[in-house]
Amino acid sequence: MKWRAAILAAGVCGWLVSAAGQQPQQNFDNVKIQVTPVQKNIYMLFGAGGNVTVQVGKDGVLLIDTEFEPLVPKLMAEIKKLSDGPIQYIINTHVHGDHVGGNDAFYKLIPKNPQLPLNIIAHANVLNRLTAPGPNGAPGTSTAEHPGFPEDEYDTPYKDFYYNGEPIFIYHEPNAHTDGDSVILFRGSDVVTTGDIFTPDSYPFIDIARGGSVKGEIDALDHILELTVPADHQEGGTYVIPGHGRVCDEADVVEFRDMVVIVKDRVQDLIKKGKTLDQVKASKPTEDYDTEYGANGADRFVEAVYKSLSGK
């Protein structure tokens, strides 16, 4: 039985890694975890995968996303420098491996305390996809095999609770980056964590296969803009922790949203003129954004927008 579990685990890991579009078997030995204070109770950690949000306070520690599994010991070491308190919450913004990959490892590392149980929260579609049958007909996995899976799931428009002295809102953003995206607002600290809906250093990865769409992506960005309030002359105020990249604020989200809208409009115009996907790509609708967001991701982005709009 052990060998079967090992194969399944390897399959799920491989699936999770490939779902994120990352190279398998990445060497994490030289990855250093960078820590930056964001605002009040909130810190941002990043290493090789998605950004990790850490909220600390008198109640304990809350994490958003968990990076890749091999980095968990290093993440824990940095978190311990910020707080000795127990980790009571993990929230996953979406299903991709560079954001949920460390869940199991965190679950194993965190001391069990019946009075202070660990709550791992995500939208229901995240757990659905994690436990769904894998590629090539491999059977789905269970939470018994992966205790780090987010069993505290929600399927309402939002979920809220109070922790470390502030209200926390978890908003579901339907069919954006994926169909299980959550955006989290720390109302007291005035910080928003967006997951991969917002990635200021790269084109958004609209995961059509997992329910993503360009309309949902734009709607989600618009919702983030409703949550953010700049402090003075369009700067500061609500800080935004993106899925990848630097700490941002509302003005940065606007630039990103505008880019997505403009590229969408260009692709839409070409579809109206009857262009095929290859013809749309050849016309380079992202040409003026490629250096900023990375030419490597341009085709994937354009393809996702095309499929989103054309239904093909």
Partner: protein, 303 residues
């Protein structure tokens, strides 16, 4: 012991009296002089005018796509200050103050305050490092300065994306801006060098002058964003689709300039470009726009 005491006291006095070079004091109130590019800097640049900018194809397309309606329809644009590099084009009056170390009296920082949108910036002189790559960016960026004789050399990183010119030619958030400030009597000369790997093929160098104006008062600028015009149905961000901007030939026709020159690019900025540049499509008989801009040191009016 007495002789050692005497020498020690004398030595102390010599050490504290070693003559040192002082630094320029930039503090005070300054008014920008608009004796160069007045129409562009104050009323605003013409659409499609990329002259004098070593812009690449990406920057041109961004400029061609730009629709100024964005500032009205996207409320988050309404109260933006300029980036600190653009501010030094002289968009508004300037006040410079400085912090001194209380013990050594050495300058620790200069602070600038520009009237437009109350833009503030700190230029650190104490040798502190710039923030890491993943720190947040701001309109002012993070600036440090180092003296070289009578010139202050400033390096600014961590800028938010903004414009090189207010007709949509962008400056990315990956740019590093260096400035060189010097003062000659009542003139402050500021040289701004923009290194932008995203939109420029080589550094853009612009230099402006300010005149000392101790009598000026800069009031705070209050701005509250509000929806000003309704968006047309389906329009989130106004822009021109590629190849559809109808305004790009205006500046060439108004001023009798070859269209290729209007499109900018490093090759158009060398003296030898005059040998290869094309002919303008239309040359007015005489000046029809901004002809008296700045006359008698006054305003810059279209007619």
């Amino acid at each position: 012991m007495k002789i050692f005491k005497q020498i020690g006291i004398a030595g102390l006095l010599v050490l504290t009296s070693v003559p040192g070079y002082s630094e320029i004091d930039f503090t005070g109130s300054w008014t920008p002089l608009f004796h160069e590019d007045y129409p562009e800097r104050f009323p605003g640049p013409e659409l499609g005018d990329y002259m004098g900018i070593p812009v690449n194809a990406a920057g041109r397309l961004r400029g061609d796509s730009y629709d100024a309606d964005r500032i009205s329809m996207v409320s988050q644009y309404e109260c933006r200050p300029h980036g600190s590099d653009y501010n030094m084009r002289g968009s508004a009056n300037l006040r410079i103050s400085r912090d001194l170390d209380p013990v050594t009296q050495a300058p620790v920082a200069f602070h600038t305050f520009i009237g437009f949108q109350s833009a503030q910036r700190t230029i650190w002189l104490d040798g502190r490092p710039h923030p890491p790559e993943y720190a947040d960016h701001s309109w002012a960026g993070f600036s440090t300065g180092v003296w070289d004789g009578n010139m202050l050399n400033i390096t600014t990183t961590h800028l938010k994306e903004y414009y090189i010119r207010r007709n949509g030619v962008p400056r990315s958030d990956q740019a590093v801006v260096t400035e060189h400030w010097t003062r000659h009597g009542n003139y402050l000369t500021v040289i701004v060098v923009i290194n932008d790997p995203v939109f420029l093929t080589e550094p853009l160098v612009r230099s402006e002058n300010w005149i000392y104006d101790p009598g000026q008062e800069i009031l705070p600028s209050n701005c509250e964003p509000a929806p000003e015009v309704p968006n047309p149905p389906g329009v989130i961000t106004p822009h021109h689709l590629p190849g559809t901007n109808p305004f790009l030939h205006e500046v060439a026709d108004w001023y009798g300039i070859p269209y290729d020159a209007v499109r900018g690019g490093a090759e158009t900025m060398r003296p030898e470009y005059r040998k290869v540049m094309g002919k303008p499509e239309h040359v007015p008989e005489k000046c029809e726009r901004y002809c008296d801009c700045g006359k008698d040191a006054g305003a810059c009016n279209l007619h």
